[in-house]
Amino acid sequence: MHSWETFSDLLRNRSAVAGMVLIALVLLVAVAGPGLAPYDPLKPAPLERLQGSSERHWFGTDSLGRDIFSRVIYGTRISILIGLISVSISLVPGTFLGLMAGYFGGRIDSLIMRLMDMLLAFPAILLAIFITAILEPNLTNTMIAVGIVYIPHYARIVRSSVLSLKEQLFVQAIAHLGGSHARILARHILPNAMPPIIVYATLGMGTAVLQAAALGFLGLGAQPPQPEWGAMLSEGRQYIQIAPHVAAFPGAAILVLVLGFNLFGDGLRDALDPSLRMV
């Protein structure tokens, strides 16, 4: 893999650049968060509730008179964190299980993959609801739930890469030269199995943010008064006739971040997949 070549491919891909810009924007907001927010995102001002956009409140105020602009900004951190943590939760065990299953095959493969099939048999959101309901609904458990749900996806992708990689000559050669399993897996198979995982994880960030927002919307994710975008959207639905901005701004924030990850992920796939590489 030539990383410079990949990067220049990526830069030529317009949607990937758009994705990168969106993600960069959101990351910037997440880092600069408290500096940008004009108000305390948790402090109610009940007498100023449900006001539309104004100079004082760019995105208006919510049903408790909190500044929606400040809440959306603070919510950025929560959403990025949800994306990173839940993707790591699915990525690490998923990759490990996929490596084991693909490399050793036989009974280990059957055991791991049947387990993964069982998890996959549930609709993702239903499984996530089930897990948060058992664990007690809060933000940490939302990340865990969303993470667990996607483990099988990574396991499958990694396994299929490993299956083709382990038959390749360079791997066979090292095995015949007496390379240990651990060495072969860590030094030779894993790095070559990475590109599809990176693409999937990038797309997965978007999915995780969306799933967590869905759980927040259902009241199973972040608990009040946390400014999580899904929960804010859910609150706004009640005021859709009176004050549509309450739902619109957190909704738009979710859209921007998820769109960013999806565009970037698509671009990354185009760049990393030799068969789709632009000439």
């Binding site: 948790l42 402090k43 109610p44 009940p46 007498l47 509730r49 449900l50 049903s63 408790l64 008179g65 609904p137 009241g219 608990q223 009040p224 008064p225 639905r237 009640q238 005021y239 859709i240 006739q241 009176i242």
Partner: protein
């Protein structure tokens, strides 16, 4: 040429309808009633929730009933009644010529069966249900006597003044003895009473259909059918009312009501209710044991702002356990004013542990006394934070919420009460006495066991003279105020929003009415 003639003919036909359509009541039509949830049981001796009562009272009737727009007790299936001098025997003369919906005649035996199944463990129908009220409101009834076919006597083991108001509350509606024998434990799904409407069908979580009782003993109902539809989402109920798919939408949130007021096609009735929304402090938790802490927290919340904002003005601030519309309200009590500095000072004096989070339980459902429970909780949380108290909002599904709070598992919990019978006893004894503080199943969710207060409640039940009872209850409210087992929040205004096509829509202060007189424009 045919078309114009047809048009003229049509207009001529419509003219009479137009001329008297607006004010003369018409019979017929279907009333569609959108509400927040399904009923639990239509046998009202087995139900405590408003959604059950709302539907059940169209079908079932009592011996006595509240006035259509007031809380004065009036005759229903009993024509008259009297209390013996010792205050223990209540004799009711029953209405003659009344038939149940199944054709079975109404008489003293039917009243006996309807009461006895609830009160007597040995009655054959007793095992058919879970009776919610005997311990709370019918406890002292020890004997029931059929004097003759149309006279019945209830005998209590001690004088019990609130009984008549309790009977007006559908604690013991009169059901057909044949239906009770036939349906056994399923009577709640097949209620057969004497009311202006007959039960037709019930699709769980969807709708209940009732039809006009053509043989009703009194003034017959105007509409042919009532369909009670469950529409859980308040915004969906609002839209259904705006678009005319429902004729009535119950329990709209205050912000929607403000919107509805601008709609020319929708009518609104507002009435001060007989309810209270409160935050109960679990007095058995070490950190809330000290009355000083509870008083401090009472100073921390600005109820006026809460009402102006979340309640959109549709409430009045509460300082006592029951609203001023109920007699014996103690207006001399000075409410805890909003004073964060004082709250901090009192908490410091009481050596309150500021570092550990305290649980604030928020109801998962909205009720007339608490239309926005989670937002109200968030606001209270912020008020507590302002005086240094870290509160964590805890939510549970409604059934679990009730059973866990009645088990005393919370630190603080939000709840409310609709004192349907407009008797102070219903609030004071029912929600705050030591007798009702026994876990599990404590209606007194503050688990507040104050001997002096409980004695006053018991004394009040035995006192028939209203002036004497008033004195007792005034004193009880003073103790409540000083001890602050609750932070009383609001008495909400109840509102009924309905299409202007409906006329003569009633609204009692408890929000529960029979719709027999309601009529709908064609």
């Amino acid at each position: 040429m045919r078309k114009p003639i047809a048009c003229v003919f049509l207009i001529l036909c419509l003219l009479p309808a137009l001329s008297f359509g607006a004010d003369a009541p018409v019979t017929g039509g279907t009333l569609i009633w959108g509400r927040g949830g399904d009923s639990v049981s239509l046998d009202l001796a087995q139900a405590t929730d408003g959604e059950s009562i709302k539907a059940g009272i169209q079908v079932l009737e009592n011996l006595v009933i509240f006035g259509k727009d007031s809380m004065n007790v009036e005759p229903q299936l009993a024509e008259s009644w009297k209390v013996s001098d010792d205050g223990r025997t209540w004799t009711f003369k029953l209405r003659r010529g009344v038939k149940f919906h199944d054709g079975y005649p109404f008489n003293a035996q039917a009243v006996y069966d309807s009461f006895a199944r609830v009160v007597f463990k040995e009655h054959p129908y007793n095992s058919y249900g879970q009776w919610k009220y005997p311990s709370l409101s019918l406890g002292p009834v020890k004997d029931i006597k059929v004097v003759d076919d149309y006279t019945i006597a209830l005998i209590t083991d001690k004088p019990y003044a609130p009984l008549l108001n309790n009977l007006a509350l559908w604690l013991c509606p009169i059901l057909s003895p044949k239906a009770m024998a036939d349906y056994k434990d399923k009577i709640g799904q097949h209620p057969v009473g004497t009311g202006p409407f007959k039960f037709v069908s019930w699709t769980k979580d969807d709708q209940i259909v009732l039809e006009r009782n053509k043989d009703y003993w009194g003034e017959k109902a105007k509409v042919n059918k009532i369909i009670l539809k469950s529409i859980p989402e308040p915004s969906a109920r609002l839209m259904a009312l705006q678009s005319g798919t429902v004729d009535i939408a119950d329990d709209l949130d205050p912000d929607s009501i403000a919107l509805v007021k601008k709609n020319q096609k929708i009518a609104i009735i507002e009435r001060p209710s007989v309810n209270v929304g409160y935050l109960a402090f679990n007095t058995e938790k070490p950190r809330l044991k000290d009355p000083k802490v509870r008083q401090a927290l009472s100073h921390a919340v600005d109820k006026d702002t809460l009402i102006k904002s979340i309640f959109a003005g549709l409430a009045i601030p509460a300082k006592n356990p029951f609203p001023p519309s109920i007699w014996s309200y103690n207006d001399a009590i000075k409410a805890y004013d909003y004073n964060p500095e004082k709250a901090k000072k009192l908490l410091t004096e009481a050596k309150f542990d500021f570092n550990t989070e305290i649980e604030l339980w928020a109801m998962p459902v909205s009720r007339a006394y608490m239309p926005e429970p989670v937002k109200t909780a968030e606001l209270i949380q912020a008020y507590f934070a302002a005086v240094g108290v870290k509160a964590k909002i805890v939510r549970h599904e409604w059934g679990a919420y009730l059973s866990k709070t009645q088990n005393g598992e919370h630190d603080m919990c939000m709840l409310g009460w609709l004192g349907g019978n407009a008797d102070p006893d219903n609030f004071l004894y029912g929600l705050l006495s030591a007798d009702t503080a026994k876990t599990p199943g404590a209606a007194n969710v503050a688990i507040w066991k104050n001997a002096e207060f409980t004695d006053l409640c018991l004394k009040g039940q035995k006192t028939f003279n209203k002036a004497d009872r008033t004195k007792i209850y005034l004193k009880a409210q003073e103790i409540f105020h000083a001890e602050a087992p609750w932070l009383p929040l609001v008495h909400s205004t109840i509102v009924r929003c309905y299409s202007k096509k409906l006329h003569d829509v009633p609204l009692r202060p408890n929000g529960l009415n029979s719709f027999q007189m309601v009529w709908k424009e064609k």
